[in-house]
């Protein structure tokens, strides 16, 4: 019972302070599960991140689901308890953001016609778009860009998306098949 409460509190904390989404949350998770609670080793954590990155869905949620399962499964050896642990960790991560974001959205839709709010949101648009650019630029590292073809793929998928308006999901599948054939 104690471990469930600890998991709930640890992941609640992760969710509450997880500003910036995805990669910004990972150090928080690492801090809680590796450094504070010693639930998993650093190398296991790296494996979990790798799995989370190549599976669909938000990375932080994937990591929470995996760690929640792993933790309870290892202490009880029961798959059912493990599934419960996974659900517990995942819901603990989203519960605070859920309440917070719903209220922010409610505030926004109530004050949408407020002149100051409209002006401010319009003024900061370049900044918000800059954040999305940064999310893309930030992925240019030796893990994602492995050779000259990677650069071509970036450019071609950019064109397919912006000029030919192909659905991102379709683009990903095309390149998944190309990857299997070429590499």
């Amino acid at each position: 019972m104690n471990i469930l409460l600890t998991i709930f509190l640890a992941f609640l904390k992760i969710g509450t302070f997880s500003f910036g989404g995805g990669y910004a949350i990972l150090p928080q998770i690492q801090y809680e599960v590796v450094d504070v609670h010693f639930w998993i080793t650093l190398s296991k954590f790296t494996d979990i991140i790798a799995i989370s990155q190549i599976t669909p869905g938000p990375i932080s949620l994937n990591a929470a689901t995996y760690i929640g399962f792993d933790l309870i499964f290892n202490t009880t050896s029961s798959i059912y308890f493990g599934i419960f642990g996974a659900l517990l960790a995942t819901f603990s991560v989203v519960i605070f953001p859920l309440v917070f974001m719903t209220n922010l959205t409610r505030l926004y839709s109530k004050n949408k016609d407020n002149e100051l709010l409209r002006k401010v949101l319009k003024n900061i648009r370049p900044v918000i778009i800059g954040l999305v650019f940064a999310a893309g630029f930030g992925l240019f590292n030796d893990k994602n860009i492995i050779d000259i073809y990677s650069i071509f793929i970036v450019i071609i998928s950019f064109i397919l998306f912006t000029k030919y308006k192909l659905n991102p999901i379709v683009i990903s599948f095309i390149f998944a098949i190309i990857g299997i054939l070429v590499y």
Binding site: T65, T90, R106, R125, F161
Partner: protein
Amino acid sequence: MKIVFQLFILFFKIGFLTIGGGYAMIPVIQVEVVDKRKWIDSADFIDMLSIAQSSPGPIAVNTAIFVGYTKARFLGVISSVLGTILPSIIIILTIAIFFNTALENEIILKAFKAVRPATIGIIIGSAFKMLNTLDKSISKILLSISIGVILTLFNIQPILIIVLSMLISIIIIKLKNRGQQNGEQT
């Protein structure tokens, strides 16, 4: 009631088929919600991103909350969030229970070598499409791209940037208003 179900299906589909984390989901949500279904216009979509990034939590979940609330209030929020997180839970549990290391699968590794750079192109493309909402102002477009570059080079928390730029914006607006009032008085 139909819309609540549609929201669930849409976000389940997005959650199930988008690889590469939250920011990779933004372009898909953009296409499905703005371009195809026209539930939200492109300017409101950026307002939504401002709000989603000002709240803690995965950006995909936060966007789902915004879209869900806008279309169907609280029931919409619940169905959109469940739709977004259920695929992750199902897939990760499947991997955790049945395959300890899906990573060792060579075919998956090969596919990802090409999918990862494609995701980069799509995310940058998504930001590029958003430049349309800047009233064709060259200085704003350049500002946007340079902020992108600066943020890439320096590791700064997005929330800090958003709050800071909101404050600066409020100060500028207030100063302008005061200037106008003074101008009227004299």
